[in-house]
């Protein structure tokens, strides 16, 4: 069965979505990711969507769900690498992904996660 790999990077998890998402793959990813957050006690998730040239309301909902599920498990999610054309389309579609943190690339996303963790610890 198809699976999206989840890489551990210190206290964070990196998920790079490179294939065209379909329903079963999205559900499997939500299951895998929540299990990994619990198992590794991860405090942050970087969701790299730079390879996605379309984000429709189905995938948008998956992103929002992942972010909510991670938050309940005490982990922050940062969506990184959204293509500009996808950003324009998402807002017009009516899905501005409010409450979901974003960064331009993985490096900036990592800085954001570290800063959030430091702010939470102090």
């Amino acid at each position: 069965m198809d699976r999206i790999p989840i890489l551990k990077m210190g206290q964070f998890l990196l998920v790079t979505i490179q294939v065209d998402m379909h329903d079963q793959l999205a559900i499997t990813l939500q299951d895998d990711l929540t299990n990994r957050i619990a198992k590794e006690r991860s405090r942050g998730v970087l969701l790299d969507i730079s390879a996605l040239d379309v984000v429709d309301s189905f995938i948008g909902r998956m992103i929002a769900n992942i972010s909510s599920m991670a938050r309940v498990l005490d982990a922050q999610t940062v969506v990184v690498g959204m293509q500009p054309a996808v950003a324009i389309t998402l807002v017009e579609l009516g899905l501005p992904l409010e409450g979901v943190h974003t960064a331009l690339n993985v490096e900036k996303g990592m800085v954001l996660l570290r800063r959030q963790l430091a702010a939470g610890a102090s």
């Binding site: 379909h22 309301s57 909902r61 324009i88 389309t89 579609l93 009516g94 899905l95």
Partner: protein, 126 residues
């Protein structure tokens, strides 16, 4: 082309993208028309019991466009105005599909008969 499974949506997106490129659409316009098509194809699967998408390349003088029709023989939509409202859903989705597809298109047309099916046609001009 037939729209019966979530995998068909993936194939359809690829086909619409290729046609949009062939028509000379900008990257943003490609993304908009593919996203709108994705929403409507998902509606066909979730609510229409499967159906088909008919694609037509348009050329009016120098103006180029794409016309996509999404047809199903499902239960139909009793209240189209309500179905177009953002946030309204009968299927547990986000209720953005129809309204979102309309916003992403240059022209939008919907016909539906309860018990007979639904036909949504969108046009995106370059």
């Amino acid at each position: 082309m037939a729209i019966r499974s979530p995998e068909d949506i993936v194939h359809m997106r690829r086909e619409v993208r290729e046609q949009a490129i062939r028509q000379g659409f900008s990257l943003v316009d490609q993304t908009k028309v593919v996203t709108a098509a994705s929403e409507l194809a998902r509606n066909i699967i979730n609510y229409g019991g499967g159906g088909e998408m008919i694609l037509q390349a348009l050329a009016e003088g120098v103006r180029k466009g794409l016309k996509l029709a999404f047809v199903d023989q499902g239960p139909g939509i009793p209240d189209i105005e309500l179905a177009l409202k953002d946030g309204y859903t009968t299927g547990g989705g986000m209720g953005l599909g129809l309204g979102g597809a309309k916003r992403l298109s240059s022209e939008f047309h919907i016909e539906s008969r309860v018990g007979a099916g639904t036909r949504v046609t969108i046009t995106r001009w370059k």
